[in-house]
Symmetry: C2
Subunit: 367 residues, 2 copies
């Protein structure tokens, strides 16, 4: 099977960034995970825009201390009042604490997340050793981000970087858009997709005069978490939503999937490295190829996964057996993909681009 | 309580249109319901764009015959092959047939709808006696409408009518957009909102150079079915999604809600007649007022419902105790609202606009 001939080289420095490398936002908080980073080249550096998940240190064994944005906080207030803590009684029989990431009521409604995420810049010249900002680069803001911001993807167009991310609140999980030219000042551009939607990745150039974006609705009642595509004249307004690529029964990607990395332009098509999960919640990365001129057309899709959780930092962790990538860079004939490992750490892997393209071409002739 | 002073005049012709008034699409099919109609003035007539829900006649007591779009149908094929029938064994223990509208598997996933809806034009000079087209005006089309099209709302801008509707398929419930200038030829303009979303209503004019649309995401896991607002430069692409108006615990609208009628311009603001349901699934219509210049700002909202299912045709029917309106017209100082009664028939009600505005002003001074 030709797919097995793809060499997967994990970095010898993996995991590149772990929670202990990140300074928490407050002295009495702890970083639970640093993962699912957006990736960009900026000047002569590789930038990671890290998702940092934190919570108040759990000092009381009878209670869960849950962090949320303090919506009463005013512009003049000190940074200390941006967040606040809610104390939840663990013995409350009406609560379901079985998922370490969320607190649900007995009907399955999510009441709180156990951590809150912000985004933080890390910089590197070699793409392996990163210097991490001491403070949050982008904090959640406003009612529709009061439970945090997560999983950024960065698309460069000229000097401008477009960041798509999940905006989480009790109103749902929507897709937000932030722009920057220097990774030190950021402009919030509003929500570009209504809830529930995630895993949005903007293509790095206009195609036939239109911008395109992959996204992953999570339908309620009817439908499954699969990949859709939309188009836009201006990046701000999106329409012509179409279904792109779905789950495959009995495969590694039979339960949920999402865009993964920002699409990579190759001569033969847009290379899409996407995540898929099976019923055991094992998240792998796979590869597909979209038409260069008609990106709503899937021209090839690998049968098996490209990268499977195998290393110790991938199979154990806060939420184990997860490889979840939001971005990659191309360096020579290698694709360097940065990924969240088990919702805990950031790691990188290098894959030969010609080998991936060979495997995709092989799946094309089969299909 | 001033809200009780609003006179509600149901038409003496109610229900205006019932299933027996509608010719089914095929001789061996039956019309289950005609309801949730879009409303427009066209030339000197009132147009209703009816949702017609049909199914094959149930001739076999052991099976449910379920209609779906025949996706293998080609352009040259006869109209008979547009739909096909799937036969479901009622004794299959893996199926949940408890909801008359859907067939679910034991995990609660919807497998089929028991009926398929298309849209059909009805015309009237007096707004009470309607002549209904013999054949479907707009049939579902393509993979993303293979389970039907539902709940149209019509917004007139100049000579052009913009129809938003629910596009249903196994991929989910999304919002589609169709335009017409004459209600005999229709142009499909694509999906403007990804699943799960419903109850989209476009404002009848641009406000500050932008178009606005109310919509109702159905978030999965986190969030509730509440009303959001989006904006657009061209009606085709939508962004800047914001939360507008939410459920009220312990009220008549504490479980789900949606935009209802296309917003009606008044001197004091945009009058929004919206639907809300409580935990018993009783659907009523209520009223709110949005700022004329900033339609994302709710300036008043009536405490109680405006119209409650009370008449016999509203309290019994296919899915009983439902009043669900997609449109209304203003005639003198009366708002004539057309609504689906119990997912069965179309009815109309007349309400004094000044009285509604008084009640809204009263709720404003309270709030």
């Amino acid at each position: 099977m030709i797919e097995q001939m793809i060499e997967i080289q994990r970095s010898s420095c993996n995991p590149l960034i772990t929670p202990r490398d990140v300074t928490p936002s407050y002295p009495d908080w702890e970083v639970l995970g640093v993962f699912n980073a957006g990736v960009a080249r900026y000047q002569d550096e590789i930038i990671l825009l890290l998702r940092v998940a934190e919570r108040p240190r759990q000092t009381d064994p009878q209670h869960v201390l849950v962090p949320v944005l303090n919506l009463d906080c005013r512009d003049g207030d000190s940074v200390e009042s941006v967040m606040k803590t809610i104390s939840i009684d663990k013995s409350d029989a009406d609560l379901d604490l079985s998922d370490p990431r969320v607190i649900r009521d007995c009907s399955g409604n999510t009441l709180y997340l156990t951590s809150i995420s912000h985004l933080r810049v890390a910089r590197s010249r070699d793409g392996q050793r990163f210097v991490i900002d001491e403070k949050p680069s982008i904090l959640p803001e406003g009612e529709l981000e009061s439970w945090g911001i997560e999983d950024p993807r960065i698309t460069q167009m000229g000097d401008r970087y477009h960041i798509t991310y999940s905006a989480i609140s009790e109103r749902g999980v929507a897709v937000g858009w932030i722009t920057t030219e220097d990774f030190s000042t950021f402009t919030r551009e509003g929500l570009i997709l209504a809830p529930t939607n995630k895993d949005a990745a903007i293509f790095p150039e206009a195609i036939g005069g239109k911008y395109y974006m992959l996204h992953r609705p999570v339908p309620e009642g009817i439908g499954k978490p699969e990949i859709w595509i939309a188009e836009s004249p201006d990046l701000r307004h999106w329409g012509n939503h179409r279904f792109l690529m779905g789950l495959r029964e009995g495969h590694w990607d039979d339960t949920r999937m999402g865009a993964g990395c920002v699409p990579i332009k190759t001569e033969e098509g847009w290379l899409l490295l996407y995540h898929g999960a099976d019923q055991s919640q094992r998240y792998c990365m796979g590869a597909a190829l979209l038409s260069l001129e008609e990106p709503d057309r899937v021209i090839a899709r690998m049968e098996g996964p490209l990268i499977v959780p195998e290393a110790e930092y991938e199979t154990s962790g806060f939420f184990h057996s997860v490889i979840f990538a939001c971005g990659a860079i191309v360096s020579g004939d290698q694709v360097i993909m940065y990924y969240g490992a088990s919702d805990d750490s950031v790691a990188s892997v290098s894959v030969s681009l010609p080998q991936v393209m060979d495997a995709l071409n092989h799946s094309k002739t089969k299909g």
